[in-house]
Point group: C2
Chain length 285, copies 2
């Protein structure tokens, strides 16, 4: 065997170099960089824990079952990414903003394009709304100026803890969803229900993993928002209900302190709650 | 928010601590250690490459399709582990041996329990054997003493590059498989065919990944061996055919220099090749 050949054989110490040496020089630069880093960290993990062959078998089985749990209505790999904090980490890295701008959090799997466009003040809850709540606030820029023409796309779960798309047989469609557009004052207001906490789907491999780690599958109550306006970075976020039991243990790590909103009881016809939250947009660079 | 609550919220810098803080104190110690390391390295990978949300989506899709490619005859996640060097790394960590003892390599997916037991000298190739080869050598301990009663379980591909289990309709069963047991002299000898190089299954996500990385799917020609004897560590290994084009680019990184065996042409009736390899066993600790 000549020297060149020796370099290419796999050894425990040289495992990363052996694998990464095989990436062709013609490979797309970014793909090559990502794969080299992946191999480096994958091997470092296996070495750090000195993974046994039995544990390797458990991992292969877990990854296989996670893929096989997926269908058009269920994405178990996104759940896995979520509960390991990977989804939030990718979101954080890709949405760094100056202090004062509204922070992002995970989109989640339940957003739907084409929700109804409503006039300010309308109620997005078309079925099952006992705890009616007024949501209001302003969309501003970092200098405090109102943002006109901001599109506010909102969605939340029902009082049973399910999104409409999880219960396709329940009518009407687009329950607890709507789109609003701000006027010159940047103000928004609409009615819906006070959201409730709910478990992520936990009847698959990811739920089994959470159980073994002593973790619960619940997300604290939240209203989803996508706030977009020409010339500004789009904010994909939630507002969380202050006081929720799961605020410090969100199964998907979505909570940021700046996104917690207080809900105050009111007496205003059928409206029982009011919550105010201002969105601060950062100009696109 | 009090100080305790602040600690638990997810931040880009504190992402690993936020996730690992959730592991319950009641968790099985080893599982907790493995998961903490996994989260550490997974987050380090995402941070190192600053994974984009689009790339995250590609990864979710790849992992999902890899799981969905698996069935009772195909294990795409093992292939993924193999081509990333993870299988060989786990094998290396779990089978460290003193210098001079025969080295391990990957078991592979084609071993079958219950192959026929043959007397020394018999031919394991029951169909399609043009390039008949004599395999011979000794099983010894580290001091050079013969090991009596060593069980030698061997299997290889056909001259078409397929294992019998990949062609269940081709008879007879157990083609190119057999089990031999050494006598007091520790010697083994049997006939088969000279193995040929072959591609791992490459019509799935792993094959697509190899293509994008400019990697071929071939394994160099090899004979599989499991050599076991009471009181010794079991050796799971191959011997590779010296001179094979793929020795320095095995798709699954299984080649070790000490496992390369020369094949010499002979003229002995129907036998056209001869290869000798001695297995050196390490006493169990």
């Amino acid at each position: 065997m000549n020297e060149q050949a020796k370099i290419d054989y796999f050894t425990e110490d040289g495992s990363v170099a052996a694998v990464n040496a095989r990436i062709s020089g013609d490979t797309h630069d970014r793909l090559a960089d990502v794969m080299r880093s992946l191999v480096h960290h994958l091997h470092a993990f296996i070495k750090d824990v000195e993974l046994t062959q039995e544990e390797w078998g458990v991992a292969i089985d877990f990854l296989t079952r996670t893929g096989q749990m997926c269908d058009e209505n269920r994405q178990e790999y996104i759940l896995l990414s979520d509960v390991l904090g990977a989804s939030m980490l990718v979101d954080a890295i890709n949405n760094r903003r100056p202090t004062g701008a509204t922070e992002n959090t995970v989109l989640g799997p339940f957003h739907v394009d084409g929700a109804p466009e409503y006039a300010m003040g309308e109620n997005i809850t078309k079925q099952g709304g006992r705890e009616t709540c007024l949501f209001e606030g302003h969309v501003k820029d970092l200098d405090g100026n109102p943002v006109e023409g901001a599109r506010i796309d909102v969605w939340c779960d029902s009082e049973d803890g399910f999104y409409d798309v999880q219960q396709p047989d329940v009518q009407p469609r687009h329950n607890n969803r709507g789109v609003f557009t701000t006027g010159p004052d940047g103000r928004y207001w609409f009615r819906g229900i006070k959201p409730v906490s709910y478990p992520i789907p936990d009847d698959g491999p990811v739920g089994q993993m959470l159980t073994k780690l002593g973790r619960h599958p619940y997300r604290p109550a939240h209203m989803h928002f996508i706030v977009s306006a020409p010339g500004f970075d789009t904010v994909v976020t939630h507002t969380f209900v202050a006081g929720d039991d799961y605020l410090t243990s969100d199964a998907v790590f979505g909570v940021k302190e700046s996104l917690i909103a207080s809900y105050e009881p009111v007496e205003d016809g059928e409206t029982k709650w009011r919550t105010a939250y201002d969105f601060v947009l950062h100009r696109s660079e």
